[in-house]
């Protein structure tokens, strides 16, 4: 199974300059996708989740256009060919 991960430009450097990554997770959930991403790119993994595995507060993740906060969070099912998009939330000052 292959999932496309779309990163914001500010994180692309941590993925070898790529904003679009094809990831082959070991399972079918968002957690599996992010785990695989963290194995390949540890610093990128840390930007998205803390050491308990929680997605950071101001990181928004969408699976096929839907915010996973309103789905099943890290347990959200990710189908073969899905798009997982990471976006920073509107925060800061």
């Amino acid at each position: 199974m292959t999932v496309q991960v779309v990163l914001p430009g500010v994180l692309a450097d941590l993925a070898g300059g790529c904003k679009h990554l094809d990831v082959d997770p070991s399972g079918g959930t968002l957690a599996d996708v992010l785990d695989e991403l963290a194995i390949r790119h540890p610093m990128l993994g840390r930007r998205l989740r803390d050491e308990t595995g929680r997605v950071r507060r101001f990181v928004n993740v969408y699976v096929d256009g839907d915010d996973v906060r309103y789905l099943a969070g890290l347990s959200t099912t990710v189908r073969d060919g899905a798009q997982v998009q990471v976006l920073p939330s509107v925060a800061g000052g």
């Binding site: 994180l11 540890p42 610093m43 840390r46 930007r47 998205l48 803390d50 050491e51 308990t52 929680r54 950071r56 101001f58 990181v59 920073p88 939330s89 925060a91 800061g92």
Partner: protein
């Protein structure tokens, strides 16, 4: 000889250099732009001085970064320099303090973090281990966060022994005599007006500094109260008489003159601004028996504040004193706080300053 002043702010790090005995400064930065730098240190024990910064990416979380070329390039450990072990169920919120140990322990660096935790590195700050003796202390569940969060914000390793003194807001002063295995609270005499009875621990100690008299003599700026101990924290006495306010965040002690220390009083509890809007540093030369005000070069009509780590001294002779404000100004004194000159203005909120001399 170069004097280097590291300035951590809410949106990046600046490095100021002086080549003329601290009379004039050249500002270099921003480094780490848009990252909060709440903790900084310059480790001069290495062949190339290492600047360590405790940063917060905002959206992307906290970590420690370092530069071995005075900011030309920055590095971080792939897996993160500070990571809570899985069994703790905790996650790093903020790095509050980075403190190199003594010259005899050249690769040891300490970190104090939020949530209340103490960390020790043996590789110069590239990776840290949680100090379990502190984390597992039975008091920890009752250490409450202060307004800025619950953290170990002060770490004072004794260069001549295995003693480590720390301070927490809240929690108070704790001391280990065995390098971090066992800890005991040492707060007798430190008041806690926000609690009904003087507690054994739980005080809101804002900063502690070691007096030049020796490792048993410490001074503390508390959330109300300035205190001094001559028995390694077992008993504290007030030295606040003579100050216009006993509230403040930082305190610094002279590295060479016993009994000499500096504070920046603020009106409190709710206002937290300089008394009458005049930013002033107050100095004692007699172990707190009396205080004198330093006004030259510091602003009137100033309604800012100085955070606990936005204040430091250097090890030069005479001692330099450095003040960073929440309205982005940095002032330096090359004459032990008699007079100050502007190093920087219009920076983001200054969170920390550290000054060293480079060969």
């Amino acid at each position: 000889m170069t004097d280097l002043l590291a300035i951590g702010t809410r949106k990046g790090l600046w490095l100021a250099r002086s080549e003329d005995g601290r009379r004039t400064w050249t500002l270099d930065g921003p480094h780490l732009l848009a990252q909060e730098v709440a903790a900084v240190c310059v480790d001069t024990r290495r062949a190339n001085p290492r600047v360590l910064a405790g940063i917060q990416y905002g959206h992307w979380g906290p970590t420690v970064m370092w530069s071995d070329d005075l900011g030309a390039s920055w590095h971080e450990t792939d897996s993160g320099a500070i990571r809570f072990p899985e069994d703790t169920g905790a996650a790093l919120e903020r790095v509050w303090q980075l403190r190199p140990d003594s010259a005899d322990r050249p690769d040891v660096v300490w970190a104090g973090c939020e949530p209340h935790s103490l960390w020790r590195s043996t590789d110069g700050g590239c990776s840290f281990s949680l100090v379990r003796g502190h984390w597992d202390h039975p008091h920890r569940p009752t250490w409450e966060p202060g307004g800025g969060g619950g953290a170990v914000h002060t770490i004072l390793p004794d260069p001549a022994s295995d003693r480590v003194t720390i301070a927490m807001s809240t929690g108070g002063v704790y001391v280990s005599e065995d390098g971090g295995e066992r800890w005991e609270p040492r707060n007798r005499g430190i008041t806690a007006p926000f609690l009904p009875e003087p507690p054994e621990y739980g005080q809101c100690v804002h900063k502690v500094a070691v007096d030049a008299a020796g490792p048993d003599t410490l001074v503390a700026q508390n959330h109300f109260g300035v205190f001094r101990t001559e028995d390694a924290g077992r008993n504290w006495t007030s030295i606040a008489d003579g100050l216009p306010a006993d509230f403040g965040f930082p305190i610094a002690a002279s590295p060479s003159a016993p009994g000499t220390a500096w504070v920046v009083p603020l009106v409190a509890d709710m206002q937290r601004v300089p008394p009458a809007g005049r930013l002033r540093v107050h100095r004692t030369r007699d172990a707190g028996a009396s205080w004198s005000e330093s006004a030259t070069g510091l602003p009137d009509a100033s309604w800012t504040a100085v955070m606990r780590d936005a204040f430091c001294v250097d090890e030069a002779d005479p001692t330099g004193v450095y003040v960073g404000t929440r309205d982005g100004c940095v002032y330096a004194s090359a004459d032990e706080g008699e007079s100050f000159a502007v190093v920087a203005e219009h920076l983001p909120d200054v969170l920390c300053v550290r000054a060293v001399q480079l060969p």
